[in-house]
């Protein structure tokens, strides 16, 4: 076979992978839009599709303007944006550290933001954007601390994960303590910071989420090819021309930014970052990039999880409880699959 032949075949293969990726992304987008339509139309009462569209177009529809415009729309938008952030950040983190268990919520990155937010609300009695800013700053600070503590002439993924788990355990007990000290013990507000919730979502909260998706999301997508090459192992990736240290640092900064901003708005919604990447890898063809599908799946998880928590289950639950409960069967599934495949986690 001539070299020309080979390069033509490689090009053809690449085109087919990229076509399939586009198809997958479009399909997920369709699922997400269907979910959005469902959550906008159907709540305690049914709003006809035409009324929803008129509210979205800015008309004043008696009744629907309040339920759709004030209640359902902000909630859906915040859910989608936060889900995109969690899904993208989680998948990038798992890809970088090469373990489906190493997602930002497990290795302590969200815990820093949560602890700061609880401190600001309970101890300093702050409200509004100041809380978010502090949560982001402390999330970044926690990540830096984890990175520095894991540093010993270079950072190994294993050490980073374990240091993260240690820091996270400490911060969890701090969060629990501060919540118990709160003068007016409010379970709802507390749960937001323990498991995450989109209750009381407001449209202005979308601004920081959009900004962080714009900046950090772009960085991550730009690093996507490098991250994929690093799946082959550090040595091979370096041979392929990936600048390992730079890719690693950029990815970590972007992951932390995405997760910290989203946590500051909706709390650490359990397991969205943890579940999105593996689900995406499962439905994508091998070798296909998972970052965009993972982001879309994260958005769908939060949106539909919140809907299920509000209307489908007996009683009303914050979204973090629903997604957290989803994580347990996934863990068991992971065991079964690994046992059958004899692979490694």
């Amino acid at each position: 076979m001539s070299a020309l032949d080979l390069s033509a075949r490689v090009a053809r293969h690449r085109r087919s992978v990229s076509r399939r990726s586009t198809r997958l992304a479009l399909a997920l987008l369709a699922v997400l839009l269907a979910g959005l339509a469902l959550t906008l139309m159907l709540g305690q009462s049914l709003t006809p599709p035409l009324d929803v569209l008129r509210v979205l177009a800015g008309h004043d529809v008696p009744g629907a303007s309040f339920t759709v415009g004030r209640l359902r729309l902000p909630r859906a938008i915040i859910s989608i944006l936060a889900g995109l952030s969690f899904g993208l950040g989680g998948a990038a983190c798992q890809t970088l550290l090469r373990s489906p268990l190493a997602s930002p919520d497990i290795i302590g990155i969200s815990a820093g933001s949560s602890a700061a937010a609880v401190f600001a609300i309970v101890v300093l009695a702050w409200t509004g954007p100041a809380v978010s800013v502090l949560a982001v700053v402390c999330g970044l600070g926690t990540a830096c601390l984890i990175y520095l503590l894991a540093w010993r002439g270079g950072v190994a993924g294993t050490r980073l994960i374990l240091v993260g788990i240690g820091i996270s355990a400490m911060l969890q007990s701090v969060i629990a303590y501060m919540l118990l000290q709160a003068p007016e013990w409010s379970l709802q507000e507390a749960l937001r910071w323990l498991t995450g919730s989109v209750n009381g979502a407001r449209l202005p909260d979308a601004v920081p989420l959009l900004l962080s998706l714009g900046v950090f999301g772009t960085i991550l997508l730009a690093q996507g090819a490098n991250l994929q090459a690093m799946q082959l192992g550090d040595d091979k990736a370096a041979a392929l021309g990936v600048r390992l240290a730079r890719t690693r640092l950029l990815t970590i900064v972007a992951v932390v930014g995405l997760i910290a901003v989203a946590t500051a708005v909706v709390g650490p919604i359990a397991f969205v970052a943890f579940l999105s990447g593996p689900i995406a890898a499962r439905i994508a063809a091998p070798g296909q990039p998972v970052l965009i599908p993972a982001a879309l799946i994260g958005a769908a998880l939060v949106l539909l999880g919140d809907y299920a928590g509000q209307f489908l289950l007996p009683g009303r639950y914050p979204v973090g409880v629903v997604t957290g409960a989803l994580g347990a069967p996934y863990l068991i599934y992971l065991i079964v699959r690994m046992n059958r495949a004899g692979g490694t986690i």
Partner: protein
Amino acid sequence: MITPVSSPAAFPSRRPGSVRLLWLLVALAALLLVCGLSVTIGTRDVAWSDILAGLGGETATIGQSVVAVRVPRTVLAVLAGAALGLSGAVMQGITRSPLADPGILGVNAGAALAVVIGMAWFGLASLGGYLWTAILGAAGAACLVYAIGSVGRGGATPLKLALGGAATSIAMSSFTVAIILPRNDIAGSVQSWQIGGVGGASYDAIAAMLPFLVVGFAVSLLSARNLNMLALGDEAAAGLGVPVALSRLAAAAGAVLLCGAITAICGPIGFVGLVVPHLCRLLVGVDHRWQLPFSALTGAVLLVLADVVGRIVARPGELDVGIVTAFVGAPVFIWIVRRRRIREL
């Protein structure tokens, strides 16, 4: 792959008997000292005459009643510390992981979930009921995490066990929250399942827990010889005539009994089981026949001391002992992670 708990270079495998005896005496003296501190130091300053009278059983003045409360609290702290220290040492022996601890491995979260399920759906209200359910939950979580941690290549590595434990904890906490949320009648008691403390000690609780502790201590201490063999690796232990699976199961049952019973009475107290065995290996070497009883003794000292510190630093209030141990334990955890080579994790 075999990962010995300690490399020979770091710890001498045997200490001369005189050194061990010396440390034993030091530990006993330290225990007496911290117990004395625990009875005399607290939020309220009590005169020496009242302390002596209170120890004699008098409750006529406020000072004497305060002492009457501090005595069971100290007893509970001693028992809890001993049980958690021993349980951590046994878990580190079974898993050959330097990072094993009832908190890190999610066993405490399992006990808490089981008790909450019992309270919500089975009308659980008696001390004995709490104890049995907590132990069942602890055992279930221990099996689950060990299964998650040991699938795939390389068996149960410290990294996989720690990740599996962290993920399981998050899932179990979500279930706990989901159960409590619609139930205002039991929401008040959720607080004690967030952070462990010994503040509410009573002789009734101690008496209810005592039979479980006695069995747990006996089973754990009797497995010391088998743990020594298991430290050589499964094949070597089997070659020496140790029933590997059975002795591992028996030792695990003892450890789970201990930490489940303590979690039922005190709530989840993390990191005692992690820190103490490492200290003991430094002092008396790696022989489990010395290390296990010594871990119990040192655990008691650590927990009583943590309780006293919690009363001093947060005057006029007090810090729950679970917070203090987290702040002592997390840095030790990170120190252990940093000290090891990647390959060993």
